[in-house]
């Protein structure tokens, strides 16, 4: 089917506004009489609070509130994905975190006191006047140490947060069949999202007594968390979404919401709360560090026969989303390969390090470093071409993952790999001391939530009397172009020009609930909800047009803002006329629809067996790097990213996801790390936490395949997270190729590379 709008690259609705600096981000809005929030945070990673004296701070002129744990009606934020997660895993996890620490702090940066004052300066001065007496406690900063029986306990329940297990076939027999076994341990660090816009928001109480928060968030449903903390009926708290200056999972958990809600509710006045860059670095969840021991066996002809792996992730001081991140790791631990005998044990552990939680790829990127590292190591051991080894073992339609889930459509893995590799072109000649390394990394990443969450999204599409359309859907736009995609789908179905479709508002109470912009789910979920609504609306418009044009509904087309009779272009009427006629006939011109993702029972936590996710996105990175053998410095020279997008909804946005994911991964691979000294960050600022610039980015080519096999609108799959998944593995494999030695630890700093080459004097 030919599309008019879908698959093209029309200018995004927000593009001009953004380049002109005009959008009102959550931290930009100011209200009359507004107070400024300030949070006092723990400087210690593990300590008891012996004494907390706020009298001097409260006495300062201009200070409206100095709040401590005792002022929080219910001092407990629950870390649950909306959607019945707790019930699906009954009792598995007790994941709560205080809004303000009471008598104990468990990580550096944990909020202790919340202040509101008439100016930011007074709020800062009040923060200096708060007296907190801490007694440092022994902490634990390494997840392996934390599992020892005599380790200091982060929580009374112990340091073991959650384990998942995957079992398929017979691991002993599997390794007995193996002619070659390779074993490596892979390590990844804490990394930060480093979005342009730090966590921010403003709150007020409206005329009906409803607490309204306008916040930079990926999850409007956090209004419920605020209501629970304040012990208010859920309907009394409303979250208004704004455009985000980046989220990447870092604005999936609660950030400013509860603190802001508390300050507004206690003072009765508007309050603005904006985290500084330093607060953002120490205050929000990081990507989990992993230690991954992988042992992989293959027969002489390169057939994978066994995988034995152990994954340990550092959850930091609280659970947040760690168990679910770990589950993504478990499901993706085998890579997109047929492996008949599998034993994987995955564990996430409390420490006094920063809280780790959601970050683009959600646990499926660390495992890719390991499984793709293993594939190149096996290829070397078998003297096989690494691409041929992969192709021999790639999952095909009908094959089952180690979880037992059979793939219902062709994953096109081999094609993404061949196209990515071909895209690298001729190998660049190496001139000593430069060494050239090339590699691929194939990947698979779920899009959409875990099946048992029974995910659902709603959307409303309506016609205006002028024949234009309006979309209402509470899907936060994190900068990926979510809003534009919803408009494009509507324009496609209703035969409208894109600029005749407007998406209004992203609001927990005034727009239909669409769920979170996380888990690469918005195109699948809200996209399908909008598609369903637009199609239903189209049915009504076609009915009205058929009556007006005296034609059969099946012969009516909607195109260019008009309804016309197929094959008779002179018989056409503007949609504005059709809309008025429809209203006159009592036909609906506003439609509310929903989309329910297919659901399945919970997987078995002891064997991992079951259907964890509805579908996956498959793709490959091919990369060429240049390593300076005298300095150890690695430069990415050329990168090709090839994915099966299912169907491209907005081409430029899709390409942007691929490019952004690749560069974000380059930073993770080569330079990024939250440097910690017993849980205390040594680099909570951009002077010493470096991310790639345009000068660090390689030449990037993107190749998008369209199988039409996705569950999203028109057969689309999700790309947001998958686009990043193969990045770190591709870089590590390419550097390994350049060095002739396996690189298994991130970041691959120049100094580490030089040490691997034996170049650094002791």
């Amino acid at each position: 089917m030919a599309h008019r709008v879908i698959g093209t690259s029309p200018p995004r609705a927000d593009a001009w506004e953004k380049v002109r600096g005009r959008p009102i981000y959550a931290g930009d809005l100011a209200l009359a009489g507004m107070l400024h929030g300030r949070i006092v945070r723990s400087p210690y990673a593990s300590a008891r609070i012996l004494r907390l004296d706020t009298r001097a701070a409260r006495a300062l002129h201009g200070v409206a509130a100095v709040l401590t744990a005792r002022d929080v009606p219910r001092n407990e934020q629950r870390m649950e994905l909306p959607g019945r997660m707790a019930e699906a895993t009954a009792g598995a996890v007790l994941a709560t975190q205080p809004v303000l620490a009471g008598d104990r702090v468990r990580f550096q940066g944990e909020p202790v006191v919340a202040i509101a004052a008439s100016t930011p300066e007074i709020a800062a001065a009040a923060a200096d006047l708060v007296e907190v007496e801490y007694a440092e406690l022994p902490g634990v900063y390494d997840p392996l140490v934390a599992l020892a029986p005599d380790a200091p306990r982060v929580h009374d329940s112990g340091n073991l947060l959650r384990s998942w297990h995957l079992r398929a076939g017979d691991i002993t027999q599997g390794f007995a069949r193996a002619d070659v076994v390779v074993e490596h341990t892979y390590r990844t660090p804490f990394v930060d999202h480093v979005y342009l816009e730090t966590e921010s928001g403003i709150g007020w109480i409206d005329g009906e007594g409803v607490l309204v928060l306008r916040v930079s968030t990926q999850v409007l449903e956090h209004y419920r968390d605020v209501a629970e903390v304040l012990q208010l009926p859920h309907g009394r708290v409303r979250l208004e979404g704004a455009y985000l200056g980046g989220g990447f999972g870092g604005k999936e958990d609660v950030t400013v919401e509860c603190l802001l809600g508390l300050l507004v509710w206690k003072t009765g006045r508007p309050v603005q709360l904006v985290f500084s860059r330093e607060e953002s670095f120490i205050g929000h969840g990081k990507r989990h560090p992993y230690v991954m021991r992988y042992r992989t066996g293959a027969t002489r002809d390169g057939t994978l026969v066994a995988l034995d792996a152990e994954l340990i992730s550092d959850s930091g001081a609280y659970a947040a989303l760690s168990p679910w991140v770990l589950l993504y790791s478990l499901v993706t631990s085998t890579g997109p390969y047929r492996i008949p005998n599998v034993k994987v044990d995955a564990t996430t552990v409390y420490t006094n390090n920063p809280v780790a939680s959601a970050y683009r790829c959600f646990g499926s990127i660390q495992t890719c470093l390991a499984y793709e590292g293993q594939m190149d190591a096996l290829a070397e051991a078998l003297h096989m071409d690494p691409l041929a080894l992969r192709e021999k073992n790639f999952l095909r339609k009908g094959d089952a993952l180690a979880t037992g889930q059979a793939l219902e459509t062709e994953p096109m893995l081999a094609e993404t790999m061949r196209r990515a590799w071909a895209g690298l072109g001729e190998r660049r000649p190496a001139r000593a001391p430069a060494r050239i390394g090339r590699a691929v990394a194939a990947s698979f990443t779920p899009y959409g939530r875990m099946c048992w969450t029974r995910d659902s999204a709603s959307a409303w599409v309506g016609m205006e009397l002028d024949g234009t359309a309006v979309v209402r859907c509470a899907a936060p736009d994190v900068g990926g172009g979510q809003t534009s995609s919803l408009c494009a789908i509507t324009a496609e179905v209703l035969g409208l020009d894109l600029d005749h479709v407007t998406a209004v508002g992203r609001d927990s109470h005034f727009t239909p609930r669409a769920g979170t912009t996380t888990a690469t789910r918005q195109l699948l979920m809200s996209g399908n909800a909008v598609l369903n609504a637009a199609r239903e609306l189209r049915r009504h418009l076609v009915g009205a047009a058929a009556a007006l044009l005296e034609a059969a509904p099946g012969d009516i087309e909607l195109a260019g803002g008009r309804a016309l009779v197929r094959g008779a272009p002179d018989r056409a009427i503007p949609l504005a006329v059709v809309v008025k006629a429809a209203i006159g006939e009592g036909r609906p011109v506003q439609v509310l629809e929903k989309y329910d993702a297919p659901s399945a029972p919970t997987i078995d936590p002891t064997t991992g067996q079951g259907k964890a996710f509805n579908d996956y996105t498959f793709g490959t990175h091919a990369i060429e790097v240049e390593v300076d053998a005298e300095t150890g410095r690695t430069r990415a020279r050329r990168l090709v990213s090839c994915f099966d997008a299912g169907r491209i909804v907005h081409r430029a946005n899709a390409e942007g996801q691929l490019e952004g994911g690749a560069v974000q991964g380059l930073g993770y691979a080569l330079m990024e790390e939250v440097a910690l000294d017993n849980g205390v960050s040594k680099n909570p600022h951009l002077a010493d936490y470096k991310i790639p610039t345009s000068l660090d980015a390689p030449e990037i080519a993107t190749v998008l395949l369209e199988s039409g096999n996705g569950l999203g609108p028109f057969g689309a799959k999700g790309l947001g997270e998958p686009a990043m998944t193969p990045s770190i593995a591709a870089v590590a494999n390419a550097v390994s190729n350049a060095l002739g030695a396996r690189v298994t630890e991130l970041p691959i700093t120049a100094e580490r590379v030089l040490a691997a080459l034996g170049g650094t004097p002791a």
């Binding site: 330093e278 680099n683 470096k690 991310i691 000068l695 660090d696 700093t749 030089l754």
Partner: protein, 291 residues
């Protein structure tokens, strides 16, 4: 987004005399501010909590770039962007223009000044190694009047310049490089391209008619607690032919005389090794005319 700074009073004197007086008042701590690129970051991090900032923006003629006699006269308030774009500097002191071009990012270069950069006395300064090679002189004014400090003795210690309390850097005097000299600056960053130099190497060589080093000067950033001249390395080359072996020996000498620190950019031993690599590479490239 609001940037929260420890509150201070901003003074904007319109003459150097007033600036010196403003700095010299005894109540609380005063700091000079020029471009603010280093100072504001330090206030934000809480490393400094000055009560007063004395801005030099309204003092006339502090940012001028010109030639007096044969020397470059560089006002302390000249920004890195001014220097990199100046025709006078590019033609007569290309090493300085090259180093200025490598400072941070365009936004910082447009704001940060050469006087502020030197007074900050950061080991990883980009312009400092170039100015060390060029034998610049630093002019300062204080209560006791004006004095001139050779740049080789301007950096006293870790983030410490040889400035007395209340003294203000007003200008640099940079003698012309020897006729026919070749020069270059290498900035090596170990993380992103937008970073301070892990090490910076500036070199100036003048070869005589038989290919021997008539003049050789090496300035190093990131190699010690302050920017330094690599005197030992220079000695190994003076009067010698710049063979590959000689470049190696000079690089080894530079690595030996370096006294680098460890930080998040890299360890001391890695820095020492990078000095060895980049001194050699730069010398060979200058000899061969490949840069």
């Amino acid at each position: 987004m609001s940037v929260r700074l420890h509150p201070f009073r901003l003074l904007e004197p319109e003459s150097l005399t007033d600036a010196v007086d403003a700095l010299g008042q005894l109540d609380g701590e005063a700091r000079l501010v020029a471009g603010g690129t280093a100072l504001v970051a330090m206030i934000r991090l809480g490393l400094l909590k000055p009560d007063r900032l004395v801005s030099l923006h309204r003092v006339p003629a502090l940012g001028q770039i010109g030639v007096e006699g044969r020397s470059l006269e560089l006002g302390a308030m000249a920004t890195h962007a001014d220097i990199e774009r100046s025709r006078v500097v590019r033609d007569g002191w290309p090493l300085l223009a090259e180093a200025a071009r490598r400072v941070a990012t365009p936004a910082i270069r447009t704001s940060g000044t050469i006087g502020g950069n030197l007074a900050y006395a950061e080991a990883a300064s980009d312009p400092a190694p170039a100015l060390l090679c060029l034998d610049a002189e630093v002019r300062v004014v204080g209560r006791g009047g004006e004095r001139v400090i050779p740049i080789a003795s301007f950096f006293r210690g870790f983030y410490e310049a040889a400035l007395e309390p209340g003294e203000i850097v007003t200008a640099l005097r940079v003698p012309p490089p020897p006729a026919g000299a070749r020069s270059g600056y290498v900035k090596f960053t170990s993380r992103s391209a937008e970073d301070k130099p892990l090490v910076g190497v500036a070199a100036l060589i003048a070869l005589d008619s038989s290919g021997r080093c008539a003049d050789i000067r090496l300035g190093l950033g990131g190699a010690a607690p302050t920017p330094i001249r690599a005197d030992g390395a220079e000695r190994t080359l003076r009067g010698e032919t710049l063979t590959d072996a000689a470049a190696h020996a000079a690089a080894d000498a530079a690595a030996r005389e370096a006294d680098p620190l460890s930080d998040l950019m890299g360890s001391a031993s890695y820095r020492r090794e990078m000095i060895r690599v980049w001194v050699r590479r730069l010398l060979v490239a200058l000899r061969d005319g490949t840069r």
